[in-house]
Symmetry: C2
Subunit: 385 residues, 2 copies
């Protein structure tokens, strides 16, 4: 796919990570872009989240740059907000734009001071390196425990949308998780952009879970600079944006810490969509369901028990469960299936769980998660977030 | 400690487990006892939970026997309730008491039919083996993935209280979890027993978590047969019962699947006790906190982030965190502590986390959990619950 017009990217090593690997990214739109962003719902928020939220408001949704670093969350330190404010100001000065047109983001360890001089020192190099072709380098520089870059692309009419994301652990978005940046050259006014982003996030980043932990730094931002002069309908743009975010969200789950399997959970027949989501979330976050999937065990009893713990009223005798397309539970009871045959089926990198309540309910949802493996423990018993 | 008077115990192998190890237990009071029980809040409940709840009510809290099996949860099968009803009736007949004076319990795999003939066949052997000294054999027979028995004892005046429990995984009680049976020879009328049990469970079994999953079979039952003729005050009895249940609950956490460390979480200064509990539960269930503890990493940033996800409003700048008695976070920021010194401290089998909100709130709670290790994954990727 071709990249949206009018954006340039740069990444370099600012000395924030311990290992020498690009850890700071600058994304610049050639002209002011409509901007919208959603942030973590954690009560504890990082400095850059506070500043980014303020800048989106102060700029009235017209921004021009994203400055993101990996390796330090710039969170829960005395200087967090000040460092984010100063960095945005320094980037604005370097680029000749207002400080509030810069969206700062950080990801990495919490509670360790981020030295603002490292960012200030990197800015001239970043500015000099800005290039329309460096999208992939930017997508790589924001990663932490991720094993691969996450990018997604779409077109709406002839306008282009490109997105990048990072995320592998601490994934349990209630609003938005991790960092994701989406850029488009379509013409989209800020209010339309905000609505489209909210809608898309609700059906993508808010429907995934790796480990049930929501980070302090989650940010999903979208810029629309209108350089293509193409104005898609709000509906067409919203759909294309949702497609990009759904792809990024699913890539995050597939790269979940230690994950070997990608699990799609579908709920149908709940009283409401919200009830369906609660059931899906309870199944997706159950360590017993996730370890059973890791062990290729078609353990529908754990799925039923997790659904029963969702805090949603339902009659278990109306519950049907299918795993890998095989009926394993009907009316809350074991269905007649060949265990041996089914045991081979979950032993694939993609796993599906369908939970259906028979009756008149029309609430439904789709949710994505991954298995829970020993590798998750190894990563998190040693990595300091 | 000496056992309460007037109780006999028996355990045998009924062929329910695959391995030949006692899997069925009968506990009989020589005379009808006051009885109270609390059960899982999972929407999906096992057959024996339905029957036990009905029998406690039908007998007006006067019961005489507990019949418990391990190896099969008798849950989510077409015959679950019928098998539990029949087994209670058969036990009543064998003992010459009413069927509704028998409390049936099961634990083990969900969704596999439990053959009632296995229980019927074992009853004559159980009855013949009933012995006042077989308490420990009964406590061993109810275990599943547990690595050791859990028992606890107390005295109130000269009356005796003895408790046994099983539980290692699927531990996240919202009401009562796993199986626990407490027997006393004190004189305690059913209403006093019910109140004391509710109070004790709220501060013990409802304050522990291994993996955040609540089982379909959780039952905590207490019998008081009055054989000692000693009538303690309601308050004294309630405190002694709470002590026994707190010990059992903590033993379950210490034997949590794969657990190497026992973690005590104390919350102070929240707006209400309920808010404190929510914060404690969020920290206790965070895989990132639990893996950090497994890795002896004093990672207070993850504790703060988990607290921020509890769904409770608080100002992070008022949050203090101590780990192993060392101030690691003050006012939401890193405290001045020696990381090297602290890193050695969490490397002990007992770990403490104190989370205090400075201000006028008086809400507090104490909660117990364990670390999350690779062994948990190994156990649950292969064991079929």
């Amino acid at each position: 796919m071709s990249l949206p017009l009018g954006y340039r990217y740069a990444a370099t090593y600012a000395g924030i990570r311990k290992v020498e690997k690009d850890d700071i990214v600058l994304i610049v739109s050639d002209s002011p872009a409509s901007a919208a962003a959603v942030f973590t719902r954690n009560r504890v928020v990082a400095g850059p989240v506070t500043v980014a939220r303020r800048n989106v408001r102060a700029s009235r949704g017209r921004m021009q740059a994203i400055l993101a670093n990996a390796g330090n969350a710039n969170c829960a330190t005395p200087t967090a907000e000040q460092v984010a404010t100063e960095s945005a100001r320094a980037a604005g000065e370097a680029l000749g734009i207002a400080a509030n047109q810069v969206l700062p983001c950080s990801t990495g360890v919490i509670g360790v001071e981020l030295d603002p001089r490292k960012i200030a020192n990197a800015l001239p190099r970043l500015k000099a390196a800005l290039d329309p072709g460096s999208f992939d380098a930017a997508a790589a520089a924001i990663l932490t425990t991720d094993t691969r870059s996450k990018t997604a692309f779409a077109q709406v009419k002839a306008a282009r949308i490109a997105g990048m994301a990072k995320g592998s652990g601490m994934i349990h978005p209630r609003m938005a998780t991790t960092l994701a940046f989406v850029l488009t050259d379509a013409v989209v006014p800020p209010p339309v952009l905000r609505t489209a982003l909210k809608h898309a996030v609700e059906r993508s980043f808010n429907r995934i879970s790796v480990d049930g932990d929501t980070s302090t730094n989650d940010t999903v931002a979208v810029f629309a600079n209108g350089v293509s002069k193409i104005t898609p309908s709000a509906k067409a743009f919203s759909e294309a944006l949702a497609e990009v975010l759904a792809s990024l969200a699913q890539q995050i789950v597939k790269d979940g810490e230690g994950a070997k399997k990608f699990v799609t959970i579908e709920i149908r027949g709940a009283a409401t969509d919200a009830a369906a989501e609660k059931i899906a979330r309870s199944i997706a976050n159950s360590p017993l369901v996730k370890t059973a999937i890791a062990g290729s065990d078609p353990n529908w009893g754990r799925v039923l028990s997790a659904a029963g713990n969702a805090g949603v009223a339902f009659d278990p005798t109306h519950a049907d469960i299918d795993m890998q397309g095989v009926a394993v539970c009907r009316g809350g009871l074991a269905a007649d299936f060949s265990e041996d045959e089914l045991k081979r089926k979950p032993d694939s990198p993609e796993c599906s769980i369908q939970f259906t309540l028979r009756g008149r309910g029309r609430g439904q949802t789709r949710f994505w998660t991954c298995d829970l493996t020993e590798e998750y423990i190894r990563i998190n018993a040693s990595y300091r977030t």
